[in-house]
Subunit: 307 residues, 2 copies
């Protein structure tokens, strides 16, 4: 049995006979694939964003064509505001939830991730079980889940484009991060009409038309203001969907009833307007990132009609 020979070359035009090239759409250094006795060897450039692009664009699609009779799928649900032991308690009997899937609790100082893994022979049935397990978990602990490991921008892009829906966002505590995430996807100008960072109370009233009485009665960080921001931006930007965030990113701004990390996410479309409350931990940047993730996750669930 010959050992696999991996030759490191820097450019696609020096690729030896035995290696297939792996295209690099964002740089000049090509990658190479070697295959021997069912083992795959990749040589990729060291620039991280080039390497990532090649893994997503070439390697994973290629490997997916090779692995035909064994399918593994993972889905990670990110939670905040509940320790591992209480999360397990709330889920109850795991056999009733998993039906053969596996569930890992991955605690960290910033929250507990739950990773669902499903293994099987056929992609359709694996995807179906994964989705069913996700639903059964969400029914029990939905309020602690603020995000998944899905490529949140691209997933949204596909659904919004397919459904021909437009969206606008009005952000307070996330300060532009939700719009930034949405516009990271090429083609987002097809559905993303407008973002508004209404950081001060006057801008919420003047630009967005949120009634000042609401701000006085409930404060800027409240269900009522989150809902008004979502419905107002939808009206102002004339879009199908409006999304909003308002919260206390810290380290200042907390009150006795409104702690740092409290965030309301608002959603509005032609059928319904509502807001959901989250309590995040972490520093200012982490609260912003989690709130943006939660807003995009809420949007994804509405688009896919996941309750």
């Amino acid at each position: 049995m010959e050992p696999a020979v991996v030759t490191i070359v820097r450019r696609a035009d020096h690729v030896p006979e035995q290696g297939a090239t792996c295209p690099n759409p964002v740089g000049t250094a090509g990658g190479i694939l070697f295959e021997q006795e069912g083992k795959y060897f990749y040589v990729l450039p060291g620039v991280p964003y080039e390497m990532k692009e090649m893994i997503d664009g070439s390697i994973i699609p290629y490997l997916a064509t090779k692995v035909k009779d064994s399918v593994i799928r993972h889905l990670t649900l990110r939670t905040s505001g509940i320790p591992e032991s209480m999360l397990a308690n709330q889920l109850g009997n795991l056999d009733e939830i998993l039906h053969g899937a596996k569930l890992a609790f991955l605690p960290s100082p910033t929250g507990v991730r739950m990773r669902i893994s499903v293994h099987g022979d056929d992609a359709a049935s694996v995807e179906r079980l994964l989705s069913e397990v996700e639903q059964r978990i969400r029914v029990r602990v939905q309020k602690y889940i603020y995000g998944t490991n899905l490529r949140i921008g691209r997933d949204h892009s596909n659904i919004l484009t397919a459904k021909k829906l437009t969206i606008a966002v009005s952000e307070s505590c996330t300060g532009g991060l939700v719009a930034d995430r949405i516009t990271d996807v090429s083609g987002s100008s097809n559905y993303f009409q407008q973002g508004l960072v209404t950081y001060s109370n006057p801008s919420k009233v003047d630009v967005l038309g949120v009634p000042s009485l609401l701000l006085e009665q409930h404060g800027a960080v409240s269900r009522e203001v989150a809902e008004a921001m979502a419905s107002s931006i939808r009206r102002v930007a004339r879009t199908d969907i409006g999304l909003s965030t308002t919260g206390i990113a810290g380290p200042t701004g907390a009150t006795s009833t409104k702690p740092i990390g409290l965030v309301w996410i608002g959603y509005s479309d032609a059928e319904a307007t509502f807001a959901t409350r989250f309590q995040f931990g972490g520093d200012r940047r982490r609260v912003k990132e989690r709130a943006a993730q939660a807003a995009l996750e809420l949007l994804r669930r509405k688009l896919l009609k996941i309750e």
Copy 2:
């Protein structure tokens, strides 16, 4: 000569006699400082954002009090769109620029950084030379410089607060990232009034009041539209300063005269309105990040009256 003994402990309440504690404002694990024969040993928690906070908040200020008779300062200028050799040519005779300072060219696939280092006995004269060298370099190659290594958010915060100035931003190609950067700083609500992500042409006309004739004549990515966006957001948000971005982040949207990475940054205050052209390399995310950095750098230069 006894070797320094470093005992690793996990919590501040277990700190041994010989170690001084280092407070952790964002977590529970304390750090410890040991000092022996003029050498300093720190033990810090492994959570990156806790470690960073402690370095910035405790360690660097502490070491600054210990190092009295020797000062080193660095400033890095980030350039884009010019190779190292041409940059050196344009600078010309380095002795005339440096006057004893050191300059390192640090090329990477994404641009060349120039790191200025000044070493001396007295902080004031070191800072003065650093600033003079920066000025002499900027006079020669200003158009390639899009950013520095300064903590861009906090620097702005200090100046805007001290001068009691308010700001609003109108973003197209950066898609919310400029507002996101500004609002990463606690207290930014004191000067940051409003951000607007006018991603579509109709939103530029409807919300911002950019004349549609300008968009037709010059296109959305133009000096004229960048200037109109900056002056309009200043008027709409009633702030002292308006900042704008419009460009082609890619990978689509390029034309024969407007390549991917072309970005105009607009600035407007009571005295002047202007826009500056940049040509960035890299993928969509990199173009967004560099454009945001360039916008904040342009703002910093105006605030500090650096030409």
